[in-house]
C-alpha cells in the first residue's frame, strides 16, 4: 500500500491562537517501505501519524492510500480509522487492562465479528510471531514493559493491516532491550512487507531502521531521503546537526574570491574548495556562511599551516576505539573524532578540515 501525504496541514486552535502542528508536508511512502519520521518533540510527527490513522482530520491537503483518497477537506472526504485498515502501536502500548493477552490481541477481530475458530488461529499465529504464546492467559498488569510492547504489536498485526503505524515504540524500554527489539522490528517488517510509518526522536533509531527518513521541525518537512542522503547531504544546518552523532561542527566562514580563485576563510585559516563546490560557493559570496564538517572528517596536525585552525583541547571523551575531543579555537568550538590516544587536555593542537567533506550552508539554510 502506498501512502501519500500531499501538502497536508493540520491546524489547532489553542488559547494562544491558531497553531499549525503540521504545515504543508508532502511525502510519498512506497509500498512495503519502512519509513521513519524523525524530529524533536513538538515537531508534528505524532500529528502526522494520527492523520495517517484517521484519528485527526487534516485542515488542508490530501492523504491517499494507493490511489484512494482517505482524507481531503477540499473534497469533503474523510475515512475514519475503522475504514482504513491501519494498525497502530502506541508509546504507552494502550493495552486494555481488563482483558488478558489473548483477548487483547483478539479484540479487533471480535469487533470485526470474525468467526471464533479463525480468531483463535490468528491470535495464536500473531503470538507465536512475537514470541508470547506462553503469556496468553495473563493480564497486562502482570507483564513487563517489553512483553506489553509485544502484545501491542501482536494486536496490531493480527488483522493484517495495510499500514502499520508506530509511535515511538522503543522509548519506554531500557537501553539494552531497545537494541534487541530494534533488530527484531526490522526483521519482522521485512518478513511481513507491510508499509510502516515509524515515529521517533532518536536519530540512531531512524538511521538504522528506516529505508527512508523524513526530518520534521516545527511542523514542516526539513528534508526527506535515505539515511545515506540525510547523512551525506544535509540541506540545512538543522538537518546537519540533528542527524549523526556526534553532531556536525558548524564554523562561521566567508567566501573570498581572489585572482579568480574561490577560497573559504574561517578563523585565520583559508581553504581551497574542490571544483564541485565552487559553484555553490560563488553564490554565497559576501554572505554569512556556515562551514559544516563532521567530527570524523577533522584531522589533527602537529604544526600550523595556512589551512589549519589553532586551538586547545578542553575535554577528552574516550569512546573505546576512538576518542571525542573538544577543541576550543578563537572562532568556535570543534568536536574531533580521532583514534589518536596521546593527546592531553590543554594541549595545543592544529585542526584541519577535509575539503572534500566540507558542507556549505548559506543564510537560508541556517535554521535555529
Amino acid at each position: 500500500m502506498r501512502l501519500t501525504f500531499q501538502h497536508v496541514s493540520k491546524r489547532f486552535m489553542t488559547m494562544r491562537g491558531a497553531v499549525d502542528a503540521v504545515h504543508d508536508v508532502s511525502l510519498e511512502i512506497k509500498d512495503g517501505e519502512f519509513f521513519a519520521i524523525l524530529g524533536p518533540s513538538g515537531c508534528g510527527k505524532s500529528t502526522l501519524l494520527n492523520l495517517a490513522a484517521g484519528l485527526e482530520k487534516p485542515t488542508a491537503g490530501e492523504i491517499r492510500f494507493d490511489d484512494r483518497v482517505v482524507a481531503s477537506p477540499e473534497r469533503r472526504i474523510f475515512l475514519p480509522p475503522r475504514n482504513r485498515n491501519v494498525a497502530m502501536v502506541f508509546q504507552s502500548y494502550a493495552l486494555y487492562p481488563h482483558l488478558n493477552v489473548f483477548d487483547n490481541i483478539a479484540f479487533p477481530l471480535r469487533i470485526a465479528r470474525e468467526k471464533d475458530a479463525h480468531i483463535k488461529m490468528a491470535v495464536k499465529r500473531a503470538a507465536e510471531m512475537l514470541g508470547i504464546e506462553n503469556l496468553l492467559e495473563r493480564k497486562p498488569a502482570e507483564l513487563s514493559g517489553g512483553q506489553r510492547q509485544r502484545v501491542s504489536i501482536a494486536r496490531a498485526l493480527v488483522r493484517r493491516p495495510e499500514v502499520f503505524l508506530l509511535d515511538e515504540p522503543l522509548s519506554n524500554l531500557d537501553a539494552q532491550l531497545r537494541t534487541g527489539t530494534r533488530a527484531e522490528l526490522k526483521c519482522l517488517q521485512r518478513e511481513l512487507k507491510i508499509t510502516t510509518l515509524y515515529i521517533t526522536h532518536d536519530q540512531t533509531e531512524a538511521m538504522t531502521l528506516g529505508d527512508r527518513i523524513a526530518l520534521l521541525k516545527d511542523g514542516s518537512l526539513v528534508q526527506a531521503g535515505t539515511p545515506e542522503e540525510m547523512y551525506e547531504q544535509p540541506k540545512t544546518t538543522f538537518a546537519a546537526t540533528f542527524i549523526g552523532s556526534p553532531p556536525m561542527n558548524l564554523v562561521p566562514a566567508k567566501v573570498k574570491e581572489k585572482d579568480g580563485r574561490i577560497t573559504l576563510a574561517f578563523g585565520d585559516a583559508t581553504m581551497v574548495l574542490p571544483r564541485e563546490k565552487t559553484e555553490q560557493a560563488k553564490q554565497l559570496k559576501k554572505q554569512q556562511v556556515l562551514l559544516g564538517i563532521r567530527p570524523e572528517h577533522v584531522t589533527l596536525r602537529s604544526e600550523a599551516s595556512g589551512q589549519t585552525l589553532s586551538g586547545t583541547v578542553t575535554a577528552i571523551e574516550p569512546l573505546g576505539r576512538e576518542a571525542l575531543l573538544h577543541i576550543s579555537t578563537e572562532c568556535c568550538h570543534i568536536l574531533v573524532l580521532t583514534t589518536e590516544k596521546d593527546l592531553k587536555t590543554d594541549e595545543r593542537v592544529f585542526v584541519c578540515f577535509d575539503p572534500n567533506r566540507v558542507h556549505l550552508f548559506g543564510p537560508e539554510q541556517q535554521t535555529k
Binding site: P81, R82, S92, A94, P97, H98, I111
Partner: protein, 276 residues
Amino acid sequence: MKEDRFKKILLALGALLTVLFCLSPFFYMALTGLSLHPDFLLPDRPLCITLSHFHTVVASDSVHFLAFLRNSLIISTASAVICVFIASLAAYAITRLPVPGKVFLMFLILAVSMFPPVSLVSYLFKLMSALGWINTYQGLIFPYVAWTLPLSLWILMSYFAQVPKDLDRAGLIDGCSRLQILVKIIFPVAAPGIFSTMLLAFIFAFNEFLFALMLTTDHSARTVPVGIALFEGLYGQIPWGEIMAAATITTIPVVILTLIFQRRIIQGLTRGAVKG
C-alpha cells in the same frame, strides 16, 4: 513528648465524642423501637423489651411499611441505574467528544443541581397529573433520574477523565464505534467509579422527600421517608414505638451499606464536591 501524649488523649476524646455524637440518636431510636412504652426515660417507668412494634410494622394491614419499603427499593434502584447510564453517555461525550457549547452546558448542569426542589415541585405535580403518573413508579423514577443526573455526571466525569485516552484511540483503530468504546472499554475500566456513582444515586433517590410527598397520595408508590414522616397514630396518640421500629428497619440496611462501601461513597462524594 508531653505534647504527644496530650495530643493522643485529645484525639481519643475527639474520636469518642464523634462516635457518640453520630450514633447516639440511633441507639435511642432502636431502644424506643424495642421498648413497650416510649416513655421509659421517665423516673418511674420500666423498660420492657418487646418485639411487638416490629411485628405491627411488618405484619399489620393498616401500616403499609413493607409496601413503602418495596416501593422505595424499586424506585431507587431503577432511578440509579437509568441515571448512571444516561450520565455515562454524557460524561463520555464531555470528556472525549467535541460537544457544542460544552462550557455553557457545564454551567447549566451545575446550576441545576442547586435549584430548590420546592421551586419545581408544583408544576411537576401538574405535569405528572396530566400524564396520569401520580401514584405510579414512573411518576417518581423520571423526576429522580433528572434530579440525580447533575451530581452523577460530575462524579462520572472525574472518573472517566482518568481513563487514558490512548485506550480510546486504540479502540477506534481496532474498529470500534464510540458507543462500543464506551461499553466495551470505558465501562469495564471505570467499573468501580460507576458503581460508586450508582450507590450515591441510589442513596439520594431513596432519601428524597418533597417529590415523593407531593407526587404520591397513597401507598401504591409512596416511599419510606414519606411513610415514616406521615406515620400517625389511629387514635391521636403518636405511636412512637412503631415509628421507631420502622425507622430502625429502614436504618439497618443503610448502616450495612455504608459500613461496607464507606470508602467508595466517600470517594464519590469528594470527587463530586471538590476539584475533579
